[in-house]
């Protein structure tokens, strides 16, 4: 359950929208929202923030501001540890003139190092945009069960009615290569079997979850892990993509992107990373 939400306050043009999104989330989950500003505390900044908080119709819950100077990454990571934060909300950047979003360098470091779940917002908005469709990964991993459960919690709190669980199956698991009609037939059969196996596995996770009122769909995709789900979320115009946190990232992963890095370099939609 999410009790404390942390948001970085940078006094950028996006501040209002980011703040409102965080407050709204706080309300939906019944959680406290904490804002951290890395930098000097001045009266002008304080009044600006106060004015914004007053504008919001959501500000019923307690909002706490922490002012601290230092390295943004370290400050935010330390605060989130100290305050026992459950969810860190970060804004993404938009490429000039293109409808493509990516995660800036600070946010990227935070995403990799944070000990709590991270929510990356591509289009924060002052008005509420309803969340209609959540896509969640269902790949074979020990974290997956937790991630799917969190996706359902989010769906309930955000009043979302549709969840698609994407089972990414690595092409290498399919050991039939297509050469001609005969191998194509075998390949199709093998895929069918793998799909059934994956569906079974996901079903066993779903058994423990209350899925009432939510349309659940399972979609198996053969292809590169981490990449497929992002592409899928984009073409399905999902509102939220929920993913496992990566096991560990090395330098190599950044050069040859793996799982999450595909998503970070080109955000398909809002992304929630569950830790």
């Amino acid at each position: 359950m999410i009790k404390k939400i942390l948001i970085g306050i940078a006094f950028s043009p996006n501040l209002k929208a980011n703040l409102f999104e965080a407050l709204r989330l706080g309300n939906m989950f019944g959680a406290q929202v904490i804002g951290v500003h890395v930098g000097e505390k001045t009266t002008s900044k304080e009044t600006e923030l106060q004015e914004l908080l007053l504008e919001s119709s959501e500000a019923e819950h307690s909002f706490k501001t922490i002012w601290q100077e230092g390295n943004p990454v370290d400050v935010i990571l330390n605060t989130s540890k100290k305050e026992k934060i459950d969810l860190l909300v970060l804004g993404a950047l938009q490429k000039e003139n293109l409808y493509k979003y990516y995660v800036g360098s600070i946010a990227r470091k935070l995403t990799r190092k944070a000990h709590c779940s991270v929510l990356l917002l591509i289009k924060p908005s002052t008005e509420r945009v309803p969340c209609k469709h959540i896509v969640v990964n269902g790949l074979q991993d020990e974290k997956t069960e937790e991630t799917i459960k969190s996706a359902f919690t989010f769906a309930k709190n955000l009043d979302c009615k549709r969840i698609t669980i994407v089972e990414e199956i690595s092409q290498s698991e399919l050991n039939v290569k297509v050469n001609d009609d005969e191998t194509l037939r075998k390949n199709t059969l093998a895929k069918e079997q793998l799909k059934e196996r994956e569906d079974l596995r996901v079903n066993s996770i779903l058994n423990d979850i209350d899925t009432q009122d939510i349309i659940v769909k399972k979609q198996s995709i053969f292809g590169r892990r981490g990449y497929c789900i992002g592409h899928y979320a984009k073409i399905k115009r999902a509102d939220l993509l929920v993913m496992n946190a990566p096991s560990k990232t090395t330098i190599l992963d950044r050069i040859f992107p793996q799982d999450l890095e595909y998503i970070l370099s080109e955000l398909p939609t809002d992304v929630l990373i569950i830790k």
Binding site: K177, V178, N179, D180, D181, T183, L184, R185, N187, T188, K191, Q219, S220, I221, F222, G223, R224, Y227, C228, H231, Y232, K234, I235, F256, P257, Y262
Partner: protein, 738 residues
């Protein structure tokens, strides 16, 4: 398994026949290609024999024919000249070693499943390279065709010397040159007009074989009937060793570590793989049984065949399109046809070696001049230009670089030019560099449909990724390819998508490309690169009707039928007929129809790539409402005697020996056919004009001549159709009332 064996056995006769026809072409072509390559003529035949047998046993395709290929002429000639440094024979021995090594490389490529490497070449660059090969063949052989063996120089010089060569020929005072040149020119005319003459007896023997037969015949005429001696100098006749079996050349591996050897190996392998891959793909489109070839297995078999052929003094083995097309047209149905083609070549070489020695070189050169022209024909260039100016630029860059430098440089420059042009068109380098290594294709199955989405860009550079996904979709399913998220799609990809669409259509599936319309409006997309999307209904309806069309309109008014210059919707019934199993329909036009009968002009083609023959004809389709038995009815003739021999059965109708004698009737269900052919119907057929008639559950297809029909012919065809339908309908009434 047992069933497969049974089908195989039952199809042996037709494959035997088809293999025979193919060997008739393979013989002169093999000799000619070897000669043009500067190799001993027999080396081409060795390649065809080894290729035919090895690939038939171990290959992964079905109806392809293998042997020496056109593309190799230029590379082998270059290799022999550079490696031999003046000594053609020694150069040939070194080249044999290069052929052996290239065979080994192809085997390795096959095992590494690198058959898909062939997709890495942009199609306009390949077109340019093929055209350059065509010019290379043409340049050298046009002089040989005119009886001059001594023309030397680079490709460009040789082309420029052509008018001079013609002038020299006209003014020559050597009897030998005059006759050799005459043989050459007549042979060329035969090649050019062969396709235009649609006479089945004439077409029974392929054009190259006509040339061989006529030139050998000419020798015997001088030998036996004429008082003059044979005028053509023995130097201008083909040279085949006296004892073929004991005269093999063996490779010399002496230069194996030298750069020129390595570069020869690379060019030979490159051309062999590209030519084979292109041909395998093209032949799959012709396969009446719609099978998918195992490309990598085929490449391995070709490699092994090349290896063996090289060791025995033969050229390297590739899959060849022209001979494969002939194989399909003659009902070759499995690899045994390739094997039989090889076997017949062995027989020819052993039995007719002395006759073959009478063939003038100019006759073979004429065959090659024609082939070269087909590869580089102006129509090809026009076609490339239609796709887009930038494609023409790529084409010309590749073409000119290839003929002025070498093949490897040519194709590399072509690839580079294509890439640069893509960057210029998009005004964006980072689109390519940032996304080059990233996956960009997503495929999943949803609600029984395959959905493929492509992101960023899709061009020849990353086409293999798209192809890997598309190849996993069974062609009888529905597939949707979405390019909404893709900023750029190049011509090579569009062309390949078109091929997929065709093969899905053939196999009963559905393949649709979506998401490209919006690109046009934002003009991010180069318009020309999208022109290749199949549009079967030509939107430009001509308002100016030709004279023939006006007369057709008049006829339709007289008959009370309806006339349309172009079909309102796609024609679906016609391709179902057996006649179109090996022929692809390009266009249907000038449609005259009433409720049940449809008379139309149809344009279709036989063969693929440069072996393509476009034929226009007028046909009549009758919708019978109820299912007629499947049958074909034809005039009885020489052809049918051959079919009898090869196992096709003629259905005999009792009490009508005259009908059975004059008509050739086949079909699967003999009893149904017998009850369908009532006395009235037989009388009708006996007393009317002959047409080729095919029936299946889509109705009747009536084919007159394999050309467009004139107004009178159309009238009589319509009349024939109406009366035929009357008889069939009354028959049906009688049988049902009984």
């Amino acid at each position: 398994m047992k069933n497969n064996f049974k089908t195989f056995m039952s199809e042996i006769p037709q494959n035997l026949f088809s293999g025979f026809v193919v060997s008739l072409i393979a013989l002169p072509l093999g000799l000619g290609l070897a000669l043009a390559s500067g190799a001993p003529p027999i080396s081409g035949i060795i390649a065809a024999i080894i290729g035919g047998s090895v690939v038939a046993l171990l290959g992964g395709s079905n109806v392809t024919i293998t042997g020496p290929g056109n593309g190799l002429v230029v590379v082998i000639l270059a290799a022999i000249t550079t490696l031999g440094a003046g000594d053609m024979h020694q150069g040939f021995l070194y080249t044999l070693a290069a052929i052996v090594v290239s065979g080994i490389i192809m085997i390795i490529l096959g095992f590494l499943r690198l058959g898909s490497l062939g997709d890495f070449f942009p199609s306009s660059a390949i077109q340019g390279m093929l055209a350059a090969i065509g010019i290379g063949i043409f340049a050298k052989q046009v002089h040989v065709m005119l009886g001059n063996l001594n023309a030397k120089g680079s490709i460009v010089e040789l082309v420029l010397k052509t008018p001079q060569g013609l002038y020299n020929y006209v003014t020559t005072n050597s009897q030998s040159t005059l006759y050799a040149g005459a043989v050459g020119i007549i042979s060329l005319l035969i090649m050019i007009f062969y396709g235009k003459i649609r006479n089945k007896y004439f077409q029974l023997i392929p054009a190259p074989m006509w040339i061989v037969m006529l030139s050998v015949g000419m020798f015997y005429y001088f030998d036996m009937f004429s008082s003059n001696a044979y005028p053509i100098d023995p130097k201008l006749l083909i040279n085949i060793p006296d004892d073929v079996v004991s005269n093999f050349n063996f490779p010399d591996f002496g230069k194996i570590y030298q750069t020129e050897f390595i570069s020869a190996v690379i060019s030979i392998t490159l051309i062999a793989s590209i030519e084979s891959l292109l041909s395998i793909k093209a032949v799959d489109k012709l396969d009446p049984l719609k099978r998918r070839s195992n490309v990598n297995k085929d490449i391995r078999a070709l490699g092994l065949a090349t290896l063996i052929s090289g060791f025995l003094g033969g050229l390297n083995v590739v899959t060849v399109i022209a001979r494969s097309s002939v194989n399909v047209n003659n009902k070759g149905s499995n690899r045994s046809a390739n094997f039989f083609h090889a076997s017949f070549l062995v027989i020819f070489i052993l039995l007719f070696a002395s006759e073959l020695r009478k063939i003038p070189l100019s006759a073979l050169a004429a065959i090659l001049v024609y082939t070269g022209y087909k590869l580089a024909s102006p129509e090809n260039i026009a076609k490339v230009f239609k796709i887009g100016k930038e494609q023409l630029l790529i084409f010309l860059i590749t073409l000119l670089t290839t003929i002025t430098t070498s093949l490897i440089t040519g194709i590399l420059v072509g690839i580079f030019a294509t890439f640069v042009i893509h960057i210029v068109i998009n005004k964006n380098l980072s689109l390519f560099t940032r996304n080059l290594l990233k996956p960009n294709v997503l495929m999943f199955k949803e609600d029984g449909k395959y959905y493929v989405s492509v992101k960023n860009f899709s061009s020849f550079i990353n086409y293999t990724r798209l192809k890997a996904k598309l190849d996993q979709i069974p062609e009888n399913e529905d597939a949707i390819i979405d390019f909404t998220l893709c900023d750029f799609v190049d011509h090579s990809v569009m062309e390949n998508l078109n091929n997929y669409a065709e093969s899905f259509k053939r196999k009963g599936g559905y393949f649709e490309v979506i998401g490209l319309d919006s690109h046009n409006s934002t003009s991010e997309h180069p318009f020309a690169l999208r022109k290749n999307i199949p549009t079967k209904n030509e939107s430009s309806v001509k308002t100016n009707l030709t004279k023939r069309q006006k007369s057709l309109q008049q006829i339709s008014n007289e008959l009370g039928w309806k006339y349309q210059s172009l079909p309102a919707k796609e024609v679906s019934k016609i391709p179902e007929f057996g006649y179109f199993k090996t022929r692809q329909i390009n266009k249907v036009s000038n449609i005259l129809s009433n409720e049940n009968c449809t008379l139309f002009d149809i344009e279709f083609h036989e063969g693929e790539l440069f072996a393509k023959q476009i034929i226009k004809a007028t046909m009549l389709h009758i919708n019978l409402g109820e299912n007629a038995p499947e049958f074909t009815l034809d005039k009885e003739g020489i052809f049918e005697y051959i079919y009898h021999f090869t196992g096709f059965k003629d259905v005999t109708i009792e009490n009508h020996p005259d009908f059975s004698k004059r008509f050739y009737l086949t079909g699967k269900n003999e009893n149904e056919i017998k009850s369908f052919f009532t006395d009235d119907l037989i009388l009708f057929f006996k007393s009317n004009k002959y047409y080729h008639i095919e029936a299946n559950n889509q109705g009747l297809l009536i084919i007159g001549k394999e050309r467009l029909a004139g107004i009178k012919e159309i009238k009589s065809m319509a009349d024939f159709g109406l009366r035929l339908m009357n008889i069939i309908c009354t028959n049906k009434l009688v049988t049902t009332s009984n």
